[in-house]
Symmetry: C2
Subunit: 265 residues, 2 copies
DNA sequence: AAATGTAACATGTTTTATGTGATAATTGTG
DNA sequence: CACAATTATCACATAAAACATGTTACATTT
C-alpha cells in the first residue's frame, strides 16, 4: 500500500454523519490519516474536517493530533459501542431474525449486552406477553415503554464501553431469575472455544447461561478472525448456534469435524 | 367558571413546545378542551392544533377525541414523568443545590426515582470519586459515561410511568448495598406522614432508606397540597428535611409544633 | 349536509453545516 | 533565538437541511 488515500472526489453526496463514519473507517484502516487528505478526499474544507475530528475525538473514536488523527489504543477503539453498532449490520440483523423466530408469546428471554443480540430486541417488539431480562442499557432503551413487553434489568455497575451493567449486583439478580432462552454473542471463536476481552462480561455471560433453560449463540463471521483474552464457554454448551453465512469454508469444516451443530444464515 | 377559555390572543410569541406545554396545562385545568378554542386561543390554525394533539397523545399526556382532547385517567396523567419534569423546576433545583452540598468526594449516595432528586444528579456531576446507586433510568442516563462517577443501577422491573426499576430484583440489590446518604422525595405530605401513589415505589423507598446511613428528604411546597394513597415514612425518620420556601406559614407552623426539624430553601 | 379529520403541498422560519479570511499557536530550521 | 512555514482556532457570512405552519382539497364521521 502506498499510504495515500484513494482520492476520487466522490460526487456522491454524503450526509455529515456518513462522512464522519467514513473518517472513522479510514482511521481504522490506515491507522493514521492526514487532515489535508481527508479534506481533499471528501471535497470539503479543512475547517469542516477539523470540526469532524473534534467531534469524533470527543466520542473517543480517535485521537486528534497536529495535521491529522490516529486510532488510539485500538482495543478501546474496536470495543466502542457506537462503533460496533454500525458494523456488519446486515449480517447481525439476519442472525437476529433467525434466532428471534425461536421465541413464542409468553416466553421469558435473557439477552446479553452485545450489539448482535441488540438486534434481537427489535424482533421481540412485536411479540406479546414476552418478558425480557437483560443487563444491557441499549436493550432497555430500545424496549422501554412498550406495553406488550415486560422488561427486567439486572442492574449492576455501569460500564460505558459495553453500555451494560456488571458485577455482583448483576450476577446476583440473574441468579434469582429463570428464563426459557438465553441469547448471547462472543468476541472471538478459536477452535470450539469462545472468548471475550473482559472478565466482568465473562462472569455475566456465565450467570446468564446458567439461569436459562436453553442457550442460543449468535456469531458474525468476523468473530472467527478476532482474538480475545478470556475463555467463557465452549460451542458445545449451546442448544443452538447461528453463524453468518460469510463464514469461510475451512472454518466451517473444522466445526463439523468437531461435531458442532450450527446453522448458517 | 364559564367553561370558555380566556381568549386573549396572546401577541406574546410562543415556541411550539411552549404552546404544547400550555395545552397540557389547559387540559389538566379544564379536564377537556375544544380544538377550535385552542386554535383561537393561541392564534394558530386548526391543523397546527391537530398536530400538537397528535404529538401529545403519543406521549400519553392526553387523549384526542372528536373536536378536542381530554385528560385521561388523571392519575396516570399527573404522574407522567415528562410532565412532572417540567413543573417547579426552579424550586427543585434550589432543593437539589442545598441537599447536594452535604455530599463529599468519596461518598456513596443513593438516589430515588423522583424528578426532584434527578436534579441532584447534576449537582454530583462535578464531585470526584463519588458512587451513585439508583433505581432511576433517568439518573442513569444523565450520569453515564462520566469517568469520575461510579454508577450502580439496582435493576428490577421497568416502570415507564416513573422511568425506574422496581420489584424483587430492585429491593434485593438495595439490601446488599450500603450507602452514606439516601436522597428521597415523596408525592404527598399529610401531617408528618409521607405518601406515594404506588406500592412498588413505596417498597423501593423503604429499602433505600434502610440501606443508607443517613436519609435526606426533598419536598417542593406543592407536596403539602397533594394526596396519595400509600404511607411510606414519617418525617421524623429523616436526618435532614429540605422544603421549598414557598411553603405557606400555617403548614410550616404545624411542622414546628410536631417538632420536625426542617430547612426552607 | 354539517362538522371534523387527514393528506399533500407551498411557504416561511429556525437550526445546522460549511466556507472564508483574519489571527493565534506550534513546529522546524538556520 | 528569530523567522518562516504549517497548522489551529475564532468569528462571521452564507448555504443547506429540518422544522413549523397554513392552505386547499378530499375523506370521514355524525
Amino acid at each position: 500500500m502506498d499510504g495515500s488515500l484513494n482520492d476520487r472526489h466522490d460526487g456522491a453526496k454524503m450526509t455529515p454523519s456518513e462522512r464522519r463514519r467514513e473518517i472513522v473507517n479510514l482511521v481504522m484502516a490506515e491507522r493514521t490519516v492526514q487532515l489535508d487528505q481527508l479534506a481533499d478526499h471528501f471535497g470539503v474544507s479543512r475547517m469542516t474536517i477539523h470540526r469532524d475530528l473534534d467531534l469524533l475525538e470527543e466520542r473517543g473514536l480517535l485521537r486528534k493530533g497536529r495535521g491529522g488523527a490516529t486510532a488510539e489504543g485500538s482495543l478501546l477503539f474496536e470495543s466502542n459501542f457506537h462503533y460496533r453498532m454500525q458494523t456488519e449490520v446486515a449480517e447481525k440483523r439476519a442472525l437476529a431474525k433467525a434466532a428471534g423466530a425461536l421465541v413464542e408469546p409468553g416466553n421469558v428471554v435473557m439477552i446479553d449486552d452485545s450489539t448482535t443480540t441488540l438486534m434481537l430486541a427489535e424482533e421481540f417488539e412485536s411479540i406479546d406477553f414476552i418478558t425480557i431480562i437483560t443487563n444491557s442499557l441499549a436493550v432497555c432503551e430500545r424496549l422501554r415503554g412498550r406495553p406488550n413487553i415486560h422488561l427486567i434489568l439486572t442492574g449492576g455497575t455501569y460500564n460505558d464501553t459495553f453500555q451494560g451493567f456488571y458485577g455482583l449486583v448483576c450476577e446476583q439478580s440473574l441468579a434469582k431469575l429463570r428464563a426459557d432462552w438465553a441469547f448471547l454473542s462472543a468476541s472471538s471463536v478459536i477452535g470450539t472455544s469462545l472468548y471475550h476481552q473482559d472478565q466482568e462480561v465473562v462472569r455475566m455471560k456465565r450467570a446468564l447461561m446458567s439461569s436459562a433453560e436453553r442457550s442460543v449463540l449468535l456469531l458474525t463471521h468476523s468473530k472467527f478472525k478476532a482474538r480475545a483474552l478470556n475463555h467463557f464457554a465452549d460451542l458445545s454448551e449451546f442448544d443452538r448456534v447461528f453463524i453468518g453465512a460469510q463464514l469461510d469454508a475451512p472454518a466451517a469444516q473444522r466445526l463439523q469435524q468437531a461435531n458442532i451443530a450450527f446453522e448458517l444464515v
